[in-house]
């Protein structure tokens, strides 16, 4: 299934955690420059798949770049779901952490590293925050700073782990639009675990639907967002409408007793 236009290829990726199969034989390719949205209910394995791609989860099967190499931090940058924002660390210092993979043995940043980090701060309109402590930022500002750190990594692949789950609707759209702009201008490839199906349909070129660690569907949003499949996977009646040329997923009024409490996100 691998071809040269693929930025990242997963073959037979399986993750077993405490004797439980969290991901089962995932075959998935991400095209260069594309936005792939990973969707699925809590515990479906979205985060685990992202973490496997980032080399943070032990897995069997292979995850490789188009040249067959296993990706490293210079190939892909991760924007975590709940980033740790250290006390007393300034925005500038935090963004500069993104240069870690590019530093030499003595781990000293060069002027070029400073220039790249300050360029990223300027692009993301964060210059005025440069001296502020990251821990003092609002949710939306903090998420921009985390994206800035990922950009300072200068990796062609950007992995987003539900990057906007802690943000209100306005900030959600702002962060995702920013990522989309960067993708178009810099030719980045984006893989994002996304909670909100409507947002996923709006931003992603392609969606991969996961359920209980298995890849159920993989294709363009209007193919994958099938009301009956989604209702089954999410265990609740869902309908899919088209409003102003955009796909919108809505929760239908529940049939009595059809909703079970969602499993906690354990992956």
């Amino acid at each position: 299934m691998s071809n040269t236009s693929d930025a990242l290829v997963c073959q037979g990726v399986t993750v077993v955690y405490r004797k439980r199969v969290v991901l089962s034989h995932i075959d998935l390719a991400v095209g260069a420059g594309e936005w792939l949205g990973l969707i699925g209910p809590n515990g479906a394995g979205k985060s685990t798949l992202l973490h496997s791609m980032a080399g943070l989860a032990d897995h069997s099967g292979t995850i490789s770049l188009s040249n067959g190499r296993t990706p490293t931090a210079t190939d892909l940058a991760l924007v975590p779901q709940t980033p740790l924002l250290p006390l007393g660390m300034s925005v500038a210092e935090y963004v500069l952490l993104g240069r870690t993979a590019h530093l030499g043995w003595l781990a000293r940043e060069s002027r070029a590293d400073h220039r790249i980090a300050s360029g990223v701060l300027r692009r993301l309109d964060l210059e005025r925050f440069a001296q502020r402590a990251v821990a003092s930022l609002s949710g939306g500002e903090a998420q921009r700073v985390v994206v800035a750190r990922a950009l300072a990594q200068e990796s062609p692949l950007l992995l987003l782990d539900e990057p906007t789950s802690a943000l209100d609707v306005g900030h959600q759209a702002a962060v995702l639009e920013l990522v989309d702009d960067l993708r178009r201008s810099d030719g980045l490839t984006v893989v994002a675990a996304m909670h909100d199906l409507t947002t996923a349909a709006r931003f992603a070129d392609r969606l991969a639907l996961l359920h209980e660690g298995v890849l159920i569907a993989n294709g363009v949003p209007h193919e994958v967002l099938d009301a009956s499949v989604l209702s089954q996977v999410y265990d609740t009646p869902l309908s899919v409408r088209t409003i102003d040329d955009e796909l919108v997923v809505l929760a239908s009024p529940r049939a009595k007793g059809s909703l079970e409490p969602a499993a906690p996100e354990s992956t």
Binding site: H51, A54, G55, L56, T72, A73, T74, A77, L78, P80, P83, L84, P86, L87, G88, M89, S90, A92, E93, L96, L97, G98, T100, A101, H102, L103, W105, L106, A107, R108, E109, R111, H114, R115, A117, S118, G119, L121, R122, E127, A130, Q131, R149, Q153
Partner: protein, 375 residues
Amino acid sequence: MTFAVGSSDPFAEVDAPAPSEVSAEDSALLTGGAFRLSPIPVALAVGTLIAVGLLSATSGAAGLPVAGVLSSLLDHIPLVDLDSSLTVRQESVLFQIRLPRLVLGMLVGGSLGMAGASYQGIFRNPLADPYFLGVSAGAGFGAVLAFGFGLDLGWGPFDAVPAAAFVGALLAVTAAAMVARGPGSSPSTLLLGGVAMAALFSAAQTYALQRLDETRAREVLSWLFGQLSTSGWSEIALLGPYVAVCGGVLLAHRRHLDVLRVGDDEARSLGLDPVRSRMIVIVAASLLTAAAVSVSGLIAFVGLVVPHMVRLMVSHSYRVIVPISALAGGAFLAFVDIGARTLVAPSELPVGVITAFVGAPFFAFLLWRGNGVEA
């Protein structure tokens, strides 16, 4: 979208703003100190170290004049020729008694300050310290055994005492770290694990001491209390190489400690191998502690108080905390040692007693105030 000004093709599109614009903004950021570390704290710490050094060299029973000490010191610099106003006896006091002790105090204090800062970074716990992790006790036990078996051979850095101390130190820190990784662990588990290790190794020390003959036991015991007594420059010859090598390793890894502050997973996604970095830093910090313990016994709280003060007064970044803790730790212990030498003259207080008098209330205050786990 901007256009290159003055290029042969006026409509050539460029991605970046014009060069002058970039450099102006960049330099505004750079000179604004957003990325670069300010040299002021380092200069202040060096200044304090020198001031404490002069104070120490001129304090004591045989009063040495500041001008005489300075001219005598400068006279020893190659190609500098100055007439020292010190008498031969004063010169001998300065170079055979005062300076070795002063330099030893600075090296031991610097080692403990740096080791403490590094442990705090590695364990992401601002209360970690060689003493509380049981590292000092482990090193002490190793050293007592080596002394007991008569292995203090005077071979400088290749002596068996620092080697035995290192084995003890590594055992203690590994055990404390393992306790902290247990299923029921919380942030304070590491310190409690350290306390358990300290108790265990202290008991082992006491047992080993009991097996020694009385004169030897008294010697070892007075060393164990934390003393900066010297016999010429031999202790410095022992400790110096460890400070150079381990200090260099810790300095080279201080940025790793900053990266580790975002947690292991994020650190790994940024391209750092947390396990490898942690192992290197633990080995270097433990070896440094062990070498310091071998020459000066157990001196508590320096590794806790000094990095904490640096964090409070200068920066939370380990790029700053590690080197400044080395300088400030040296100045702190050298300063405290002036008290140890002079407070009850003509006899002496063990310097470890004074650091405990200062450090224990400070530690209690930190506990009372409640400290974030993340260092």
